[in-house]
Structure formats: structure tokens, C-alpha cells
């Protein structure tokens, strides 16, 4: 219970930081941290497949893309210049939602964690990748390669300038 709540707290804080951060790079990194924490929670709740995809796609692939895109943006455009005062309401709302969910939703998820489709098959991370979903590994590599070239082609004028 405490472990779950702790991770849940981390997700909330990191997610708020991702939205509030002035630098895009920090936002991207915070998003990755949130994904990692979320995948830890999924592992804990006996959903290793979902956790694995969260870890590899959201924390890995998307972060690589965001960071590569951010690296192409000029430095002077990086810091947002607008006033962020109106965004201070966000942590307040998130805090309220956090408390509400910590009381009601987390115990509900914990009650569900015993339920899995095939309780006898609980493979390890490596086994999931190599034995069951080796095709998706190729898919992820393809998407990653595609995305890198898309970033390269879409931003090509920009990087030349």
C-alpha cells in the first residue's frame, strides 16, 4: 500500500513538473520519469505486458523522439516567454484529484491485482520480449527509425538555417 502510494505520488509530482517546466527538455525528461513510474506500478499490479510496453514505448521511444526534436529547436525559442501565473491552479486541482484517487481508486486497483488472464503464465521481462512478442520488437525498431527520419526530414530546412 505505502509503496503504491509512494509511486503514485511521484507520478503526480513529475507530471505536474512536466507541464509547469519552462524548458522543453525538462518537460520531456519528466514525462519519461512519469512513464517509468507508471510502468513500475503496472508491474506491481500483475500486468507485466502492459508495463513492458509502457516502459519501451513511452519511456524509451517517445523520449528519444522528444529529445531529438528539442535538440533541433533553437536555443532562444526554448524558454517560454508567456506568463505562467494562470497555470498555478493546475497543482491545486491535481492535489485534489490525487487525494480523491488515493482514497478511492488505489484500493480498488489493489483489489484487482490478483486478477490476471493467465495466472500460471507470468513470464519475465526478457521472455516477454524474445519469446512472445519478438515481432513487436522489430515493429518498435521500425517505428523508431521511421520517426528519426521523419524528424530529420521535417526539420531539415531548420537545421540547414
Amino acid at each position: 500500500m505505502t509503496y503504491n502510494l509512494f509511486i503514485y505520488l511521484i507520478i503526480t509530482i513529475v507530471a505536474i513538473t512536466a507541464v509547469m517546466a519552462r524548458k522543453m527538455l525538462i518537460s520531456a525528461i519528466m514525462l519519461a520519469v512519469a512513464s517509468i513510474a507508471l510502468s513500475l506500478l503496472m508491474f506491481k499490479f500483475s500486468a507485466p505486458w502492459a508495463a513492458l510496453f509502457e516502459l519501451s514505448v513511452c519511456a524509451g521511444l517517445i523520449t528519444v523522439l522528444f529529445i531529438s526534436a528539442v535538440s533541433l529547436v533553437k536555443k532562444e525559442d526554448m524558454a517560454l516567454k508567456e506568463s505562467r501565473a494562470k497555470f498555478t491552479i493546475l497543482p491545486l486541482i491535481s492535489g485534489a484529484v490525487f487525494i480523491f484517487m488515493a482514497i478511492f481508486l488505489m484500493p480498488y486497483f489493489e483489489s484487482l491485482s490478483g486478477f490476471t488472464r493467465n495466472p500460471e503464465i507470468q513470464p519475465k521481462v526478457g521472455e516477454i520480449i524474445w519469446k512472445f512478442r519478438s515481432a513487436d520488437l522489430l515493429g518498435q525498431i521500425t517505428i523508431l527509425a521511421a520517426a528519426v527520419f521523419v524528424v530529420k526530414s521535417v526539420f531539415y530546412k531548420r537545421s540547414e538555417q
Binding site: L138, G139, A147, F149, S153
Partner: protein, 465 residues
Amino acid sequence: MTTELLSYSIIPLLAALAIPFFGRRSFKLTEILSNVTLLAGLGNLMFIIFNPSNKLHNYETFSFDGFTILMLFTIYLVALSIVFFSTFFKVGDFNKNAFYPLIMISVSAMSSMVLSVDFFSLYIFMEALAVTSFALIACEEKKSGIEAAIKYLLLTFPASALILIGLAIMLFANGSLYFDISMQNASPAVFSALAFIVLGFAIKAGLFPFHFWTPDAYQGAPATVSAYLAGIVTKVSGMYAIIKICTLLKVMGPASFKISSPLMLIGVATLIFGSIAALAQKDFKRMLAFSSISQMGYIVAGAATLNPIGILGAILHLFNHATFKTSLFLNSAAIEKSAGTTNMKKLSGLEKNMPVTSWTSVIAIFSTAGLPPLSGFWSKLLIILALWVAAPKPYAILALIFSIVTLAYFMLLQKNVFFGKPKEELKEVKEASVYMLIPVIVMCLIIVVSGIFFPFVFEFFEKTL
């Protein structure tokens, strides 16, 4: 995935990753590498198909079917023609450094789609294909290209969402997404899942009434990219899955008509709408785009009969459409380069200056309209026969009538663009270079040869399907 053919998806991927490194030394190397990779793949596939030993043993040593191998062959053939054509097609501000790797990745994604044995892998590779197509459309630094790319992304995004919803429902209902297992029980949940999935792929294939994005994307994209999109990408990303589902539906027995009869209606509506809309077009590329929509209608209608003849007709028409539409789009690219426009009102009498382009167009047009003995005739014949046997009779009659309409609008195109008196400003127009004509001539040869030797093509599918 079918592991014995995995190299067809891995090698282009590795080539795509290697191209930027070669590109630093010399740009020529990247062009050579892309051409050689695709040529080697095509040669290898032809060895599998035409090897007398394989033929003698009825291809029993392989686990794949004739559909898979034909799709791989089509992907490599069209991609090679486009890459070879682009090597000698030099226009404007075209980002070729990104073009070749993107083509290679999309070839890899399409091959993987064809080789996948479950819906989830199919979905992943379809998304990879969508991402590369988006970037390919935006390859040219023109406003129309970027607008077309954004339209493509926004209008096909709902398709991905629908497919994903369908997959989720199917996973809940069956606990598996493998093709052979997922169709076995005919529960309402499986039907609703299939409806979502088919709807998503129908949007991807640009079927009526979900066709909004196709004409704009084809017209706005760079000339070679529109040939690539119309030639193979929309076929693999949308139509392949629909035909695959139709081949699997027979497991369900009579209940499968719940899916197939609406699909057949969509197919017939698409072929009618595409033909009528094509009649009204003033732009060469736009007319080809609407003609593509109409031919997609034939393919869906044929596959949805769930009749072996209809499915074979659909598969063959998919291949034939790839050959004749690629050659027509490449011809439109050559005209765009030489005459500077694809507006049919501004074009006239190009036959005198561009005889090869004109006569290859005639072959492709006759094949599209289904004139014997060209390949298009046989596939259309099979589709119309299947519709006559396994569908309401008016469908077959409509398919036949609109085949004549196809001939009408293409003759109109041929008359406006190539025949008649050449205009003053078009007198200096020159024929495309020999290298640019090679892919088109090869495509036309395939159209003629596979039409004349159709019994051998039929025999191959009889043994492998």
C-alpha cells in the same frame, strides 16, 4: 511473423539506417544502395516464384501462401520503379536525403505487415507506414505538400483509433489477436470488433464515403510520392487487411455475411462514386486519384463475395492495379516535369513529342478498363463472375457498366492530354529521359505478359492459395 521471409523486412530497414552514413561521402552512393537493395530483394523473390524445383513441389516446402509472396513481389516491384525513376527525376526543392531512407523504411514496414500473423503486429507496422507516408508527402518544401501531409495525418488518424478500439474488444472477447484463433467464435463482441477494424482499414484504403483524404494527398504530394502512395502504400495499409479478413471470414460460416454484405455494398458504392467523380475532373493526377478509388471498389466488392474466385480476382486486381496505376502516375510525373502542369485544359497533343509516354499510358488505361488480353481484363472478369454467382445480380451488372465508364473517362484523358493539335507553348516539350521511361516500360511489359500468360498465373495461385 513468418520467419522464413523476415529478411525482406529487415534488410531494407538496415539499408535505411546505413544510407545516412553513405550519404555523407557521396550522394550517388545512397541512390545506388537503395536501388541495389530493392533489386536484390526483387531478384530473390523472382527466384522463389520461378524456380522450377519449387514449382515441381507445388511450393510445399514454404509455409507462406501465394498471397503473401505476391504482395511482397508487388511491394518490391513498385518501390524499385519509384526509386529508379526518382534517381533520374530532378525537380525543385526535393529533400532526397530523407526520401530514400523513408522509402526503405516504408518498404520494411509494408513487408512486415504482409508477414504478420496477428492483428497487433499488423497494427504496429501500419502505424510505422502511416508515419513514413506523412513525411514522404511533406518531402517537398511546398505549401501544398505540407497541407496534404497534415490532411493525410488528421483524416487517417481516426482510422488508427477505430482499429485500436476493435483490437481491444477482440482481445477482451477472445484473449488472442492471432488471425486463426481470433475469428473462431462468432459472438456479437467479435463482430463488433471486426466492424471497427474493417471500418478503420476502409478509411485507410480511401473507400467511399471515407475517401476525402485521397485526392488531396495524391495531388499535393510530390509526383513520385503520389505514384508510390497510389501504387502500393494505400493498398497495403488498407486493402491488404480487408482482403485478409475476407479470407479468414469463411471460418465463421453463414454468420460471416453480417460483415461481408455491408462490405460488398461499400465496394459497389465506391466503384460507382469513383468513376462518376473521375469523369468530372480537370486535373490529370486528380482523375487518377478518383480512378484509384473506383478500382479499390472493385477489389473490395470481389473480396467481399467470400467466394474463392472473387478473392482470387481481388488479389490479382490488387497486383494489376499496382502495375497500371504506378505507370500512369509516373507518366503524369514525366508530363508535370516536361510541360510544367497536369491541368488537362492546358495540355494537348503531347503524343507527337512524348510518344513512349503516350503509348505506355494507352496500355495502362486499357488494362484499367479491362480490355483483353491485358492483365486487368482477367482480374475484372473474375470479380464480375464472382459477383454474378455470389451476390445480388445488379451488383455484377453495375460493375460491368462502370468498367465501361472507366474506359470512357480514360479515353477522355488520353484525348485531352496526348491526342489533338499540340498547343503553341507545348511544342518545345521533350520526351522523358530513357532511364525514366524504363520503369514504365517494365510495368507495361508485366501488364501485357501477365495478361497473355494468365493460365500460368492462375496455376500458381491454384497451387498456393
